[in-house]
Amino acid sequence: MTLALEVKDLKKSFGGIAVTQSVNLQVAPGERRLIIGPNGAGKTTLFAQITGDLKPDSGSVSIFGNEVIKLPVHARAHMGMSRTYQIITLFKKDTLAHNVVLSLLGIDGRKKNIFNPLGPKDSLFDQAIEFLDSVGLKQQAHRHVSEISYGEQRRVEIALALAQKPKLLLLDEPLAGLSQDERVMVSELINKISKDVAIVMIEHDMDMALAFAEKILVLQYGKVIVDGDRDAVVNDPKTQEVYLGH
């Protein structure tokens, strides 16, 4: 069985500080994997090395059996990987539908077309609205991102990621900054995602995260402290040590 994501012996240092120390991670297809750790544990750095925003010093990252370290960021989207961002990076001046269309277009050969108009009646817009429907935002499809609430923007982020029909989805703190109601809504969304998509999530909200996770990776100072099934990790004394008093 080919792993959706395999990280082997990943190392990264900034100046003299090791931010990723021999990290190993295996994510099976369809698995729900949670990455947790205190602030500064190197979770986002690890993510960045998987997405290609950061180049590791050594080690390997494979997506569905393909080594991707040498590939630029934009090539990785074509390997079935999508991601969301911790900070909202949507196209604020455009409509929700337009945002999703851009996502759909990213992996579509049509994007190279310099002549045929891409107007509001295009089939891409219909598809976009369907994806917006799946995150409960169909009614808002023609509003601009700047006009909707923060919680709604987070859902658009997910729609953008889902629109590329990924087999590996990376969620970077999808619940950050949301109200309780919004958290419930977004968590439900995430749990509804098809079981053939492997999801790797960084999240601080333990209630939601633990309900979601099948397996958990605990990081501290760039090192893997515990790695395993959810219940085993939760009960592991090392985990509790890392999260003193949580």
Binding site: T51, D53, P72, V73, H74, A75, A77, H78, S82, R83, Y85, T89, L90, F91, K92, K93, D94, V101, L102, S103, L105, G106, I107, D108, R110, K111, K112, N113, I114, F115, N116, P117, L118, G119, L160, Q164
Partner: protein, 314 residues
């Protein structure tokens, strides 16, 4: 949608019959404006739609103009060939300069476009054997496509009109195409676009090439109009005027370069009759627009047009 097309057709129709009502001076002014429109529209691809501020775009106007002039003067080559070679050569240089400039981004990109433009400008002035330096190249002629004599102002005006309409048509197509949509995306959220699978560098490079292509087209019209070329056309001032046309009209809009060019060319022609300080006026307008009207004139005009002619809902 229909109403939008009617607006365009009416507009073009008016432009076509204008020479029949105005004297030669105004007809030539019209041609001048159209050269500026194509130049500004080409620059707008980079600046307005790509978010890449270039300070060296006059390079491509100048290179095409000089290539055409030089081939004609040195080899007596017919304009059929000089035009093709000029455009191909200039676009080729655009590809190279684009590659170099896009090694950097943001303000370093700007500085590179300026520096590269200065090299060409310097060559234009100093390599006298090639370019005739400060004297420029004169004694040039206009082409005679299909045997029509373009030395006649009205004929040349209509020739420019055709080239302008066709160029703007293609630029509009590019901007509204999937490629254009992705270009605007890279302008607004570069990192996100990469993550979504777009090769941002490639999109920008292709845009740069297209911009230099249309810049070359404007250069040919320029040298045909004036029948003379001088290195000052490749100066920073020249590039800046193009920028001003784009910004004043409204960057990132199709109407912007048109409105901006009309304003700047008219100002330049009338004001320089009264005031020696064109550069100062240019500077003041620049600062004024940037601070007080950053969206340019196009957004204001668009509202007017929509009221009278209907059109796309915002």
């Amino acid at each position: 949608m229909m109403k939008n097309s009617i607006f365009h057709i009416v507009l073009v129709a008016i432009l076509v019959v204008l020479p029949l009502f105005f004297g030669e001076y105004y007809v030539n002014l019209g041609s001048q404006i159209m050269v500026a429109v194509i130049f500004a529209a080409s620059l707008n691809l980079l600046v307005g739609y790509g978010g890449l501020t270039s300070l060296g775009h006059a390079t491509y106007l100048g290179l095409a103009a000089y290539t055409s002039a030089w081939l004609f003067q040195k080899y007596g080559m017919s304009h059929d060939y000089t035009a093709v070679i000029a455009i191909l050569f200039t676009t080729f240089v655009g590809a190279i300069f684009g590659w170099i400039s896009l090694r950097a981004s943001g303000l370093s990109f700007l500085m590179l476009t300026l520096a590269l433009s200065q090299i060409i400008w310097g060559i234009g002035y100093r390599w006298v054997a090639l370019t005739n330096g400060d004297n420029g190249i004169s004694g040039l002629t206009r082409p005679s496509p299909f045997g029509i004599n373009l030395e006649n102002s009205n004929n040349f005006y209509w020739f420019c009109l055709i080239v302008t309409v066709v160029s703007l048509f293609f630029i509009a197509r590019i901007v509204n195409s999937p490629f254009g949509t992705s270009l605007k995306g890279t302008r607004d959220q570069e990192k996100r676009m990469s993550a979504l699978g777009y090769n941002v560098w490639m999109i920008r490079w292709v845009t740069f090439i297209m911009a230099s292509f249309f810049g070359a087209v404007s250069g040919l019209l320029y040298v045909y109009l004036n029948k003379y070329i001088h290195p000052s056309v490749i100066s920073i001032t020249s590039s800046a005027e193009g920028l001003l046309c784009v910004i004043a009209g409204g960057a990132g809009t199709l109407a912007g370069p048109i409105l901006g060019s009309i304003l700047i060319v008219l100002l330049k022609n009338y004001v320089s009759g009264f005031v020696e300080r064109w550069n100062m006026l240019l500077g003041i307008i620049f600062v004024f627009i940037v601070i007080f009207m950053p969206a340019g004139m196009a957004s204001g005009f668009k509202q007017l047009k929509n009221r009278w002619f209907g059109g796309k809902k915002p």
